[in-house]
Symmetry: C2
Subunit: 447 residues, 2 copies
């Protein structure tokens, strides 16, 4: 295909056929959507979401779409914003490892709001989702790493294209209108890494969802943009990145799918600790370990682990996420590494502190980033070892569907009844056979 | 002051006192606001505005604020967006020549919408406006020209800070909240020069107004951001500009006012043709020239004039803006250079074409950019010359208040009755004595 990147993506989005999606792509789209639902519902009561709603609810339009997990029902643009925010608040969402984009937040947040406002079949929803992820990740591939290195939060800047493309597809835009939608998205691309550690980090996928959706709506009314929003001399790639490779956008377009390279975090903390947590949970299950019976936990880890997460005495939940010691202890005690394992209360729990103080860690240069070695010495002298070569959640050892269901259930448990949780899980797995994708939104509202 | 730029601007915005504004600053704020009203009302029926409304009106919230010149009454965020768009659609708005920022659009569009939603005195409105312009132009000064050269439309990217600061002041934000408002603005800074020539160009000040206003609203609810949104390692200035000088933000803050360097376009075309139009209008008035009596119009111009506006036979209105020949002819015939002098009909008018064909132009390297020489040879042999040293609208020869009133009246005449136009002019000149600035919005709605 000899089209320029913007035109090539528009052509692809307009001509792709939902009926020709490979079955594994349909299934991966469901996995990503389930994970997105869980992250957004789990964080739905967080201050970040509540403050955004307090600030903007006086300007909500007619009730059109759901804020996942909450009773508010704003216009679809504000719903897209709020769900994009909540999906990234726990930093527990999916990751396209090649670009560190969190793909689902911008795309699914725009799509579900649109699907609630206009009826859309489940298959069309999953297809538009796969297209949106393809567009954002290919644009990300073309500008990564220079774009990220200079300071752009790529989930926001690439995400707006994904949301525009996906929404544009569902709105039935022509190829020319899709070019404009991508252009209107390009000129709204934003989100600075300077904001990491503040509420603006999860704001970025929210903005990407809302702005991408409005870009598609504007293009549907023939609101014009440059026709080279991505590759133009003063377009996105030249202005926001030090280097770029447009072949990463056009080559194999329609034949390969970036969504198949998506990964899901099993644990609600930085990915470098995941092998340790994974190994501790495995040992706990295999040996029926009781914390009181443990004399010592010895870890051998990749150098990055102590560099990034070497905090020995965390005081609050957020600091716990930067402590491999806390993470190992709580994994043994709870058999989990979810958001509740990083609460302020958990970090201050005397039983957790007691076990944490028995954890030691040394660097082992032979270990890859997704590997770790754990040795547990019991009071009775028995010793158990576990070497993790590829942590659960890595591309080499992806979370199973069942793992994703359990993660989803744990995230939703504080907010939804068991029957609702089961209905949502079943609803996502059967999405390609549902007549109306938007119906899932209402199932997330408590009560 | 030793504060960092973001903190310094927040401190300035929080502590500045409206009662201490120099009288000339109050007056310049009124001039800028009058010019903004006129540009926005004038373009209020343009396709750019109508398409944006068609796309987004299904998502409008409760009626809170005016779309200038129109009957629609959306929530204040959408009103800010639409008025920011219309204010720049004719490219006839104000210019801060040091940075090529069009300062009023982002700031006034946010402020009027806010003032219509919550009662604000005219003096507080003008003060907040001056603060917003100060913030956006100082940030612009700090990153210009590298920021503009790389491809950013500085009216959008700097404008969002101005809107956030101005709205934050009216919302009574604390210094810390103003820091967050500037941070939330920084992470939404957007607008690519690639979009010039499309509807996205005027979209940029609209987005700046809306996003800046929502940044202030979010900060008012303690939605947090980095506290170094401007100067942080991965903040606005480092990520979006190749070079930066923070002294341009902090030095003299509160003592000097960028608004006093604002200029207003007398003519609805590129600024390089302004000296020629100015001279032609002067000659027409002084000599009571009739087109039929003219044999020849000889121009001597700065080289940029023929480079940028050398189109000898424009076919449509937009091409007329790039023709010094059309501009001179229509200035002689109509005594004006407003939007209606660049309509498709005017460019195709046989009388205009006949006079246009009598215009010749040569480059004169002795002329400055805001200078021109015009010589008119009449059929009866008389010759009139006019040398313009500084075109009307330049800093050296600003438009008078009366000029601004006439420009305003011409822009509004297609949409508003004479009595409404007079009421608006009087309303702006008396703004510092009005109890409620927002009342002016409703006066712009026809009927």
């Amino acid at each position: 295909m000899s089209l320029q990147p913007t035109a090539a993506l528009a052509h692809f989005v307009e001509t792709s056929q939902s009926g020709r999606m490979p079955p594994e792509l349909v299934h991966e789209a469901k996995r990503a959507v389930l994970n997105w639902f869980g992250c957004a519902i789990g964080a739905s009561r967080h201050d970040t979401v509540s403050r955004a709603i307090a600030a903007l609810s006086p300007f909500f339009g007619r009730p059109q779409a759901t804020v996942l997990g909450r009773a508010e029902r704003p216009d679809m643009l504000h719903a897209a914003l709020m769900n994009g925010i909540s999906s990234h608040t726990f930093d527990f969402d999916d990751t396209h490892l090649k670009t560190v984009i969190h793909p689902a937040g911008p795309v699914a947040s725009a799509l579900l709001a649109l699907a609630e406002h206009r009826s859309v079949s489940g298959l069309e929803f999953l297809h538009a989702f796969a297209l949106g992820v393809e567009v954002e990740c290919r644009i990300g591939n073309a500008v990564y790493p220079s774009h990220y290195d200079v300071g752009w939060h790529i989930t926001g800047t690439a995400g707006v294209f994904g949301a525009a493309a996906a929404a544009g597809r569902l709105l039935g835009l022509s190829e020319r209108q899709l070019v404009w939608a991508l252009g209107i998205a390009a000129t709204q691309a934003c989100g600075l890494r300077e904001m990491f550690g503040s509420m603006c980090k999860p704001l970025h996928p929210g903005l990407a969802a809302k702005n991408g959706l409005s870009a598609a709506l504007l293009a549907a009314q023939d609101f014009t943009s440059s026709e080279q929003g991505i590759e133009g001399k003063r377009g996105f790639a030249n202005v926001l990145a030090g280097a770029r490779d447009y072949r990463r956008i056009t080559e194999g377009l329609g034949d390969t799918w970036e969504l198949l390279d998506n990964t899901y975090k099993p644990f609600a903390c930085g990915i470098v600790i995941h092998p340790v947590i994974d190994g501790c949970i495995q040992l706990r299950a295999e040996q029926a370990l009781l914390p009181a019976a443990i004399r010592e936990i010895r870890l051998r880890v990749h150098p990055l682990v102590l560099e990034l997460t070497g905090k020995t005495a965390p005081r609050v939940g957020l600091e716990g996420k930067f402590s491999v010691y806390h993470s190992a202890a709580v994994a043994i005690i709870d058999g989990a590494g979810g958001e509740e394992q990083y609460s302020d209360a958990k970090v201050a729990d005397p039983a957790v502190i007691a076990l944490r103080n028995k954890v030691s860690a040394v660097v082992d240069l032979s270990l890859k980033e997704d590997a770790a070695h754990i040795e547990i010495v019991c009071e009775d002298g028995r010793v158990f070892g576990k070497r993790v070569e590829h942590a659960i959640g890595s591309l080499a050892r992806p979370m199973s569907d069942r793992d994703l269901e359990e993660k989803f259930s744990r995230l939703c448990a504080p907010h939804l009844s068991d029957s609702r949780i089961e209905a949502l899980i079943a609803g996502v797995w059967s999405l390609d056979r549902r007549a109306d994708a938007g119906e899932l939104g209402a199932l997330t509202v408590p009560g």
